[in-house]
């Protein structure tokens, strides 16, 4: 396994992709799948950053304070996020489109602010109970948890992603996967086919939350620091951008989108301070000319056709101008 990873790094290193960058790309791919699941079911949710925060904090506290192994912390982090997702999803997933997006952004902010004030909150509760001043520090507020052991290895991320890809492939050939697509395309018709829309939506929301949490656990043990502000609105939008760039017509799209957007700042290092501009430009071009994302055969065909038509029209006009 290590030899394979070294080989991959050798190939991509001329692009500026070193092992830490590759690890970050793999984490982003997991996040891409997380938002893909909800989008594929027709739910425009932006709660992924919030669930990522839950995963990161739960995972890091488990490994650093309680000496739990990373594998167990990963599973517990995912389960906690899924359990939190259920009471959030039941009321919120009744909403649609932009309203759902706003409600889930709200959830993300609640998680972030809770993490920010967690120590103070617990201290004041303890103080009220004990009757004397108690100091409690676990998450360290805005300063976050620092000096986390770097436990995440590249092979873990690759293994996780490979298993995830296998599961996605199987999911799409299952009754549940078909129900997800049906709900996206026509929710009411899906319900009339006997699909329990509320059930499917909530299960998908929980799965999506668990994946975001897994990315959070891995990421916390990579960056070695977890702060509340890493999981703000910007992060939620970044995750959405993975799906926008890659497209959601197949599960490959958000994986490629996530990896590309994570790699771009490193690959484009030579552009110096214009990196951000280029990043935005790429996204904008994709949205305008390939609305279905990069991984979308019909979108490419349509773009090629409109380009051809434009050229032939121009040459026609040129010929007419020459004729007159």
């Amino acid at each position: 396994m290590d030899a394979v990873i070294d080989f991959i790094i050798q190939i991509v290193s001329p692009l500026g992709i070193t092992e830490p960058v590759l690890q970050f790309m793999l984490v982003s791919a997991i996040l891409g799948v997380s938002i893909y699941l909800t989008l594929y079911t027709g739910m425009f949710t932006l709660a992924n950053a919030g669930f990522m925060a839950i995963g990161a904090y739960v995972g890091v506290v488990l490994t650093q304070e309680l000496d739990v192994s990373l594998g167990v912390a990963l599973i517990i982090g995912m389960v906690v996020a899924a359990v939190v997702a259920l009471p959030v999803g039941l009321p919120v997933l009744r909403l649609r489109d932009i309203y759902l997006a706003i409600a889930t952004i709200g959830f993300g902010e609640v998680v972030r602010i809770l993490a920010l004030n967690f120590d103070n909150l617990v201290s004041s509760i303890l103080t009220a109970m004990e009757g004397e001043r108690v100091r409690f520090s676990l998450l360290n507020g805005a300063r976050g948890i620092k000096g986390i052991e770097k436990l995440t290895e590249t092979w873990m991320l690759i293994l996780f992603l490979v298993v995830l890809m296998f599961l996605l492939m199987r999911l799409h050939r299952s009754r549940f996967g078909r129900a997800m697509a049906a709900i996206r395309q026509d929710e009411r018709a899906a319900a009339n086919m006997g699909i329990n829309v509320v059930y499917v939506k909530n299960v998908v929301f929980m799965l999506s939350a668990a994946l975001a949490a897994a990315a959070g656990v891995f990421n916390g043990h990579l960056t070695r620091i977890v702060t509340p502000n890493a999981f703000d609105f910007n992060q939620a939008v970044d995750i959405l951008a993975f799906a926008v760039l890659g497209g959601t017509s197949t599960w490959i799209g958000p994986i490629i989108g996530g990896m590309a957007l994570a790699a771009m700042p490193e690959v484009l290092r030579f552009l110096k301070e214009y990196r951000g501009v280029f990043n935005g430009l790429v996204l904008l071009l994709v949205i305008v000319y390939l609305p279905g994302g990069l991984i979308n055969p019909t979108g490419w065909r349509r773009a090629a056709r409109s380009l051809r038509e434009r050229f032939s029209r121009q040459s026609q006009e040129a010929a007419e101008d020459a004729g007159t």
Binding site: L167, R170, L171, R173, S174, R175, F176, G177, R178, A179, A181, A182, Q185, D186, R188, A189, A190, A191, N192, M193, G194, I195, N196, V197, V198
Partner: protein
């Protein structure tokens, strides 16, 4: 089989359904006609659970379903088509029929993921049933075409095939011949007669009286949310109240 008693539905100031009594006996084909805006689609929405009545009861084989969610009603054996076609446009014809059979599957997601025998057996059965429906409705040639790209007539037929895939005991058809020419309408009538031969109960909304004559045992006439007439197709055609509802009447005649 299906029994509506005093079903009323109000949208703000509009009384869309006003104490509707209607019954569909086992194996019968019942027509529902009425001018545009009479409340026909509202009635079907209420039966299929997309909408719920403000008062009244809807009983289906001993279950009260007026408050049930749509997937429960589908599981009890009521399927429907839509006036404005509502296929899963990005799926192929075949996939639409697989989704239609959703409730016939038992295999869990885990069984699907690990490709266990029950999942494989079940997928084979769903495929076989879908193929059967494709042949029956003449859709085999377009099995792998995206539903959104199908010609109009095929889309209409696919909607009916998909409703049948639910394996219902009662099927609600909401203007199945809308936009069809007379030949297509007659062919569709033959399909409806075949459903009836299978022992299905049918409630069909229709404007085309030739189809009503071809397939229906009895007809209800709905106007302004109220049932104004009931009888055999021949009786309904002669009924002056129905003629008035459709063609309108002089003001003094209505009062008289």
């Amino acid at each position: 089989m299906l029994e509506l008693k005093g079903v009323s539905r109000r949208f703000g100031g509009l009384q869309a359904l006003n104490s509707v009594d209607l019954s569909v006996p086992d194996g019968a084909t019942i027509g529902l006609i009425g001018p545009n805006g009479a409340g026909k689609t509202t009635l079907i929405n209420n039966i299929s659970g997309l909408d719920h009545p403000n008062s009244g009861t809807i009983a289906f084989n001993g279950h009260y379903i007026e408050k049930a969610p749509p997937h429960r009603i589908s599981q009890l054996g009521i399927a429907r088509t839509y006036q404005n076609i509502r296929l899963f446009g990005e799926m192929t014809t075949l996939q639409n029929l697989l989704v239609g059979q959703h409730t016939q599957g038992q295999a869990s997601l885990l069984e699907a993921i690990f490709f266990l025998p029950r999942y494989r057996r079940e997928e084979r059965q769903l495929m076989a049933r879908a193929e059967q429906l494709l042949t029956r409705f003449g859709l085999s040639a377009v099995a792998d075409v995206q539903a959104a790209n199908l010609p109009y007539g095929d889309q209409r037929r696919l909607e009916m095939a998909r409703a049948l895939a639910v394996n219902p005991r009662l099927i609600l058809l909401d203007e199945p011949t809308a936009g069809m020419n007379p030949t297509e309408t007659r062919e569709l009538g033959d399909q409806i007669l075949r459903l009836r031969d299978d022992g299905l109960a049918i409630l069909v909304i229709e404007h085309d009286m030739s189809l009503i004559h071809q397939v229906c045992d009895y007809v209800y006439v709905l106007n302004f949310g109220q049932i104004i007439a009931y009888g055999t197709p021949a009786e309904i055609r002669e009924n002056p109240i129905v003629v008035e509802a459709y063609l309108g009447a002089e003001e003094d005649e209505v009062k008289a």
